[in-house]
């Protein structure tokens, strides 16, 4: 009996590994926390995606591989989902075993914030931002392998 309970608790705790993700209802809060210039020399890789976006889903494994490859370096990957519900995202990241940090941005007033992410952004996803200190590199495209993604990462990473 005790073992069953223990197993049950264990099951619950592992399956609820991703039961919570941070949700930003207002773009301003998201911007303050994730898009501001930083003083540290960490390189932030911020990818905008959604579970319904086919090219976005296709490129996610390269972000996972990037995370593995640079886990001992000052590289932080954040996957910003534009899905409609937290449930959709949580189910997806559990199923696909996504290890990168995922946040959800649900601010529906897109016309007010798309320009703030980058003035050249049309609104199509995926996009990827590379941020380091005051440096910013914006790409409206999808990646087809780890090398392509790494090439863009290294452009900013090598800047002191």
């Amino acid at each position: 009996m005790r073992i069953t309970i223990l197993a049950f608790i264990l099951l619950i705790s592992t399956s609820t590994l991703f039961s919570q993700i941070k949700v930003y209802e207002k773009f301003d809060d998201f911007e303050k926390e994730l898009l501001q210039p930083t003083n540290d020399d960490t390189l932030y890789v911020i990818n905008f995606w959604a579970t319904w976006c086919i090219p976005c889903v296709k490129e996610l494994p390269y972000f996972e591989q990037l995370n593995q490859k640079y886990k001992n370096e000052k590289v932080k990957i954040i996957l910003v989902s534009l899905d409609f519900t937290t449930e959709q995202v949580i189910n997806f990241i559990n199923k696909k075993n996504i290890k990168n940090e995922v946040v959800l941005l649900t601010d529906s007033k897109t016309n007010t914030w798309i320009e703030k992410v980058d003035s050249s952004w049309s609104g199509a996803i995926p996009i990827t931002l590379f941020l380091k200190g005051k440096q910013k590199d914006f790409h409206e495209k999808d990646y087809h392998n780890l090398e392509e993604l790494e090439t863009d990462l290294l452009k900013l990473k090598t800047i002191k």
């Binding site: 090219p55 529906s108 897109t110 049309s122 609104g123 199509a124 996803i125 995926p126």
Partner: protein, 197 residues
């Protein structure tokens, strides 16, 4: 020194403009001859006494397109009679997404009772000229096919009840009244147009 600086600024500015593709406000859009879900070829020139054209790049598979289907039907109901027909174009290559095939376009049009032309950009020749990058993506043209408004239908894709600004309707009404359209461009999240790599 000042002159040099101005030249540099002018140069940077021109480069930035050249980097953009597709139509800008005030440019004249191309006509087309594309097959509709009614199996007939259609063009803008075919519309009699048009005061303008509501060209919407949209498709079957995209969740944002689906969210706007009923609103596009309502737009056609409201504005076709006033001389502003909706013309929907699917810009996607079905090889990249089978859900956007011509056969499935026909099915979707029938299911939803589309009251507007739903055309297929076969060969993907038209959308790059317009500069559409995603679905849905609206281009409002006047009767001379001059681009008057580019962007979103309104300011809330997810919830029609929570819409505060109907960008497209405001633009059509301003065009009809001969007033200035404001804003002339807006941005919304959408599905990138699917091209075979």
């Amino acid at each position: 020194m000042m002159k040099n600086l101005m030249t540099i600024i002018a140069l940077v500015f021109t480069t930035a403009i050249n980097a953009q593709t597709g139509y800008k406000i005030g440019e004249t859009a191309t006509d087309f001859k594309l097959k509709g879900t009614d199996d007939k070829m259609h063009s803008l020139a075919e519309v009699k006494d048009a005061k303008g054209y509501i060209v919407i790049f949209t498709c079957n598979h995209c969740p944002f397109s689906k969210l706007y289907e009923d609103r596009i039907i309502a737009l056609q109901t409201a504005y076709q009679g006033k001389g502003y027909p909706v013309i929907a174009i699917n810009p996607n290559d079905p090889k990249a997404n089978p859900d956007d095939s011509f056969e499935l376009m026909k099915e979707r049009a029938k299911e939803k009772g589309f009251n507007f032309w739903y055309l297929f950009d076969d060969g993907q020749k038209i959308y790059p000229q317009y500069g559409a990058t995603k679905t849905p993506h609206v281009f409002l043209l006047d009767n001379n096919k001059v681009v008057k408004y580019i962007g979103a239908i309104d300011d809330n894709a997810k919830d029609p009840a929570a819409v505060e600004v109907k960008f497209l309707e405001n633009a059509i009404n301003a065009l009809e009244a001969g007033e200035k359209i404001d804003p002339e461009t807006t941005k919304a999240i959408g599905c990138g147009i699917k091209v075979v790599q």
